[in-house]
């Protein structure tokens, strides 16, 4: 469509925040450098100018207190968006995320509502080295009480961020740093994508690829490559990792009889293990080959581009992984 409106992933995030702040006076943002500066990736650009410093709050570099600010404000009736600049920094705030935000409602016997959105930026590919490049989503998905969201494109970003802000449970919205400039169709009007609903990014019949965030895009490239060999890939982007759309994944595998799970996080202990396990429990009789996991090697993210480009899985890794799976038939 010629008149289709295009927007960058980062601006899709920004627009979702802006529209929800317009719609609900209880929504506010707090984080490091998000005010006049607009956030290190420009994610909050222009929002303080529009909504004022009381609603777009520059905080000290204090990750525990930033999340605590969100927890306390949420449990007393506001709808906070708190930003942790890099995903690696969730480790600084883990008590407030894991022991407080995720558990208050349960520990209080249900007598708490926590409409809290924690936003952060994950993933590698910028030579940002081991403390600014991690993919720690599996750690968060292991915590009952949290919801974890990782969009792979601008359209999903806006719809999922809108859903996160409207959600009455603590959510963690993980932007991928390498997708910030990705452009795509994003409707101007507000819309939300339900948390827990995956997406068939590409229909196919021979093998199911489960991939999210940047890896979903690498899987699309891989699928085009494999199509030349007559291998028809179906790509499932779960979009939300907790709750996980297991039904969509399993129904796809029942059709294709093959499954490959791809993530940028280290393979060992990653979400791929959980997804593979779900597939084997729920679709074992349909599988023609073991479920394959593609992920990073079990090392910190290396700095040098010469190393990092081999560390992070890409379309070539995925093509090879799928060829291996199909060769086992």
């Amino acid at each position: 469509m010629a008149d289709e409106r295009k927007l960058a992933y980062v601006m899709a995030f920004n627009e979702a925040v802006k529209q929800q702040m317009e719609a609900d006076p209880n929504v506010f943002c707090a984080g490091e450098d998000i005010g006049a500066f607009g956030g290190v990736f420009g994610t909050f650009g222009g929002l303080q100018a529009k909504f004022g410093a009381d609603r777009v709050v520059d905080t000290p570099i204090s990750e525990q207190a930033i999340v605590g600010l969100g927890v306390g404000a949420a449990v007393t009736g506001l709808r906070p968006i708190v930003d942790l600049m890099f995903m690696d920094f969730i480790c600084v705030a883990l008590d407030q995320i894991v022991n407080q935000a995720a558990k208050l409602k349960y520990m209080f016997g249900g007598d708490a509502v926590l409409p809290l959105t924690i936003t952060t930026a994950g993933g590698g590919g910028l030579s940002a080295a081991a403390q600014h490049s991690q993919s720690l989503e599996a750690l968060l998905c292991h915590i009952p009480g949290l919801k974890v969201v990782m969009p792979s494109n601008p359209y999903d970003m806006k719809g999922l961020m809108t859903a996160c802000i409207q959600e009455n449970n603590p959510t963690v919205m993980i932007k991928h740093k390498r997708l910030l400039g990705m452009t795509g169709h994003v409707p101007e009007e507000s819309y939300s994508i339900p948390l827990g609903k995956g997406n068939i990014l590409r229909p196919g019949k021979d093998v199911t690829i489960v991939a999210y965030a940047r890896m979903a895009n690498e899987a699309l490239i891989a699928a085009d490559e494999l199509a030349k060999d007559g291998i028809d890939c179906e790509i499932i982007d779960p979009r939300t990792l907790q709750p996980l759309d297991t039904d969509l994944i399993v129904s796809s595998v029942k059709k294709t009889n093959h499954a490959v799970v791809v993530h940028e996080a280290v393979r060992f202990g990653g979400l791929g293990g959980e997804i593979a396990s779900q597939i084997q429990e729920l679709a074992f009789d349909y599988l023609d080959a073991p479920v394959t996991r593609i992920g990073a090697p079990f090392s910190p993210v290396p700095f040098s581009p010469a190393l990092e480009q081999h560390y992070i899985p890409d379309s070539k890794t995925i093509v090879q992984g799928i060829r291996d799976v199909m060769a086992r038939v």
Binding site: V67, L69, G72, T76, G77
Partner: protein, 327 residues
């Protein structure tokens, strides 16, 4: 001693309620009728009572692992508290939280907390929300001397001051972080010395004197409510029992003489003696108050005893709210 008699009696009543609840909980724990850990507030009643007596019903507090006293002082219901300590379905948290997570958000009590120091950042959030709404509510963070050594306290105090929030940091300095004396874990004697580093006023009060605590709290709460920003109150106090459980004497880390010295300064009896001396109340009046409140605690134990346990189908209830997108 300019406080009106009815205010003194209100503070007294809050303290007696705490004492009775805690002594009852201790007795139940001794006879193995309470599951889990029990951190008793006995000895520190003047702090919770003096501070909460300065608050409105819609003000917020965050608490600690030693949190029963804070909930009682904010108006907590004995029945639901005792049922929660027993892990019953009728408890404040439906048996999901227990002693260390007891809470009542309708009273503005945002939870006891099993993580030392974790309440202060949450109080900062409540204070932020209170200012945001502009209804003049304030937040109080209760915390111990030991928790001022953890990063969360520092972050919370600094952020509260940087954002000039309506909050009071109420420190219960009972001289021990669990089983280790304060002088082994910090190089300062007074927690209040930390306040200057954040740019907020701080005051030391006798934490065994409920009137002194209350007067300091009234001033700090007023400052917060009128846009004057955060304050720190350090109440010098003492827990009569062990860090957890009901032992009070023969402990390896503090002497029996020290315990006896502090018990002579019992905050409730100190107030009663003073009020009788000042002819503000009589012994008979106090006896009647104790008897009335004691009946309430006995009824609460019976209520908790008779209450059902939660059923296993409740395990997954309350992990997430089913409401989504609604406000």
């Amino acid at each position: 001693m300019d406080l009106p008699v009815h205010v003194q009696l209100d503070l007294h009543r809050r303290m007696v309620r705490i004492r009775l609840f805690e002594e009852a909980a201790g007795r139940l724990a001794e006879s193995n009728r309470l599951p889990g850990f029990l951190h008793l507030y006995v000895g520190e009643e003047a702090v919770a009572a003096g501070v909460c007596g300065a608050l409105n019903d819609d003000d917020h507090i965050t608490s600690t692992h030693r949190g029963h006293g804070h909930l009682v002082a904010k108006g907590g219901d004995f029945n639901r508290m005792m049922a929660e300590l027993m892990g019953k379905a009728t408890g404040y948290c439906k048996g999901k939280g227990g002693s260390m997570h007891i809470s009542d958000t309708s009273l503005g009590m945002l939870g006891a907390n099993g993580i030392v120091g974790a309440g202060s950042p949450i109080a900062v959030g409540a204070a932020f929300a209170n200012r945001y709404r502009g209804r003049g509510q304030v937040a109080v963070a209760f915390f111990g001397d030991g928790s001022t050594n953890i990063g969360a306290f520092h972050e919370a105090a600094n952020m509260a001051c940087a954002l000039h929030l309506p909050i009071v940091f109420a420190c219960e300095n009972n001289e021990y972080g669990e089983f280790t004396p304060r002088d082994k874990t910090m190089a300062i004697t007074d927690i209040v010395d930390r306040a200057a580093g954040y740019g907020m006023p701080g005051v030391i009060v006798d934490g065994m004197d409920v009137i002194a605590v209350h007067e300091a709290a009234v001033e700090a709460v007023e400052r917060a409510r009128t846009g004057g920003g955060p304050s720190l109150i350090e109440a010098k106090t003492y827990r009569f029992y062990n860090h957890h459980g009901v032992q009070n004497l023969g402990l390896k880390y503090r002497s029996d003489d020290e315990v006896a010295m502090w018990k002579q300064r019992d905050p409730i009896f100190t107030l009663e003696d003073r009020m009788i001396e000042n002819k503000a109340a009589t012994r008979d009046q106090f006896d009647a108050i104790w008897a009335e409140l004691r009946a309430g605690i006995e009824a609460a134990i019976a209520f908790a005893d008779e209450s059902p346990y939660p059923t296993p189908d409740q395990i997954m209830v309350g992990v997430y709210t089913s409401m989504s997108g609604a406000n």
